[in-house]
Amino acid sequence: MALSKLDNLYRQVILDHSSHPHHHGLLDGSTNQIEMNNPTCGDVIQLQLLVKAGVIEDLRFDGSGCSISTASASMMTDAVIGKKVEDALTLSEEFSQMVQGNEKEDLDELGDAAMLSGVAKFPARIKCATLAWKALDQALTEKQETTVAKQLHCED
């Protein structure tokens, strides 16, 4: 059946993350917050970070999106909690390259998030996978203490 092709995108790990996302909900006492939406598809993500001495001590997310964007956000939290800000930004760049099909040798640092490499074959869905990471980038580089709304500009 043709839907077996879907397995390349929706691996079991991805489905697990999307139905039982990690670090979902709200955080008490965050240092950086952001809300980002993708106006073309209506997906919204809120991130709350606790950054101390240049390290991401905690990170939580909320919002509504498709299974790819929810799974990606969940996997991202696993990958970056405990990491230094610079390292998280490097990971974000690696993830962005990976989902565009520019795969690097070593994706171990991305953890489960590496399972999203299949998205490269579904160009219309790349933005779903990168929404959470784009939000993270901005939250880390622009250091907002209150929630700011940003738009991810793209077409669906």
């Binding site: 059946m1 043709a2 839907l3 879907l6 995108l9 139905s19 073309t40 209506g42 498709c66």
Partner: protein
């Protein structure tokens, strides 16, 4: 069935291809339609034999191109039953047409405190030009409510349209809910209140016979690309008496009579609105699309689509967990069907359908105010045209069931 879709399909070369190793089922006609060979041939013929600028040269090609361009205008006049070709302005599409009305008629006739009335089911292109006009003029933009079934609430329309209302602008057919609005009735009470009625014909003109005089629309805008024509060409119809009074939006070559150093005079209708080299190939090709559609018959197309909807809608409604938005009665539904499957995001569903070769749209369908009104962030939409068959409908239903099955086997909670 009223029309032989299996035979008609053969006119559309693009339909005969595989997508993701499955024969293509194209159900995104509300976004754009496919083009029959006759229309593609007309485009090629124009560029191969007649290409020249219009209304300029005295040479033979220029005369042929001009004659063909104006012949296309006459075809479009007939297509919507306008009184005169003076009322047929070639535009880039519906969006351009609606913007022209807002800029030209709107700026001249709407003042501070006046009202502009639209509905909650409008496409962004029939929302934003009015928002902008309201801002420029400190006017008030009001929205007509919808009934719980998704119809225009006519009683509310009567209340919202008042003596202060200068412009009412409504879509004839919704690109999300699949409903058709009672334009003629709204025209009556809009006119009685002293307002003009602008009609967005984007989703109706391709699918049913249009008679702008009977519906008594003051303006009627539509695009070529949804009715088997090319992109980049459309029509704005306006009543001659209104167009005569209006100022052009763009200025330049082709639209002038005399140009002096400090002032100029405009050509007569319809050319005063068509500044610069127009989309000649587009207009001529759209004329070929009109020939193609009228040979099949708009009434036949409309009936056939109604039959197709009465075949597929109950099958969709029977899928557990699937919600169809808008009216549930097949007779009141156009070929546009929006739906969601509980527990599954429309993007995931659309990707799954694409893997089965079935092209649908997922997203907000350029109708954010409507989706917010319905409490949704996104929906899937399957939209049929006369070249779709029952077989296509079956493939859609089977693909939805397969997607549901796939995601149920994963751990997603699809109910």
């Amino acid at each position: 069935m009223t029309l032989d879709a299996a035979k008609i399909r053969k006119d559309f070369p693009i339909l005969f291809q595989e997508v993701n190793d499955e024969p293509l089922v194209y159900l995104d006609n509300a976004a754009t339609s496919q083009k029959p060979a006759a229309v593609l041939d007309a485009l090629r013929h124009y560029y191969e034999t007649d290409n020249a600028n219009v209304h300029r040269g005295v040479h033979t090609l220029a005369e042929r191109a001009t004659a063909d361009y104006e012949a296309a205008r006459e075809k479009l006049r007939g297509f919507i039953q306008a009184r005169s070709t003076k009322e047929i302005l070639f535009t880039r599409g519906t969006t351009t047409g609606l913007n022209w009305v807002a800029r030209s008629y709107g700026d001249a006739n709407v003042n501070e405190g006046d009202e502009i009335v639209i509905s909650y089911m409008e496409h962004h292109s029939n929302v934003i030009p009015w928002q902008q006009l309201a801002k420029r003029k400190k006017a008030i933009l009001k929205y007509i409510e919808l009934t719980p079934e998704g119809f225009l609430d006519v009683e509310d329309a009567k209340k919202k349209i008042t003596a202060k209302t200068k412009i009412v602008s409504l879509t004839q057919a919704s690109n999300v809910l699949g409903v058709v609005n009672p334009i003629r009735e709204v025209a009556k009470f809009s006119h009685a209140a002293g307002a003009i009625l602008v009609v967005d014909g984007e989703q109706s003109a391709p699918h049913m016979p249009i008679d702008v005089q009977t519906m008594d629309a003051d303006f009627f805008a539509f695009s070529g690309h949804k009715m088997c024509g090319p992109t980049g060409i459309g029509v704005l119809y306006g009543k001659q008496s209104l167009l005569e009074e209006m100022e052009p939006i763009e200025f330049g070559g082709e639209m002038i009579d005399f140009v002096h150093l400090q002032d100029s005079t405009w050509k007569e209708l319809p050319w005063k609105f068509e500044a610069g080299t127009p989309n000649i190939a587009g207009a001529i090709t759209l004329g070929a699309a009109v020939d193609y559609l009228t040979a099949i018959g708009l009434e036949e197309i409309h009936q056939y689509e109604t039959e197709l909807v009465s075949y597929v809608l109950p099958k969709l409604q029977a899928i557990e967990g699937l919600t169809v938005y808008g009216p549930q009665e097949t007779k009141q539904h156009t070929g546009v069907i929006s739906f969601n499957l509980a527990g599954l995001h429309p993007h995931d569903l659309a990707t799954a359908l694409d893997m089965e070769g079935v092209a649908v749209r997922a997203g907000h369908h350029c109708a954010q105010p409507l989706l917010t009104y319905l409490g949704l962030s996104a929906a899937c939409r399957a939209s049929f045209y006369f070249y779709n068959t029952k077989d296509d409908a079956d493939r859609l239903v089977a693909a939805i069931l397969a997607a549901k099955e796939f995601f149920q086997h994963g751990s997603l909670e699809v109910r």
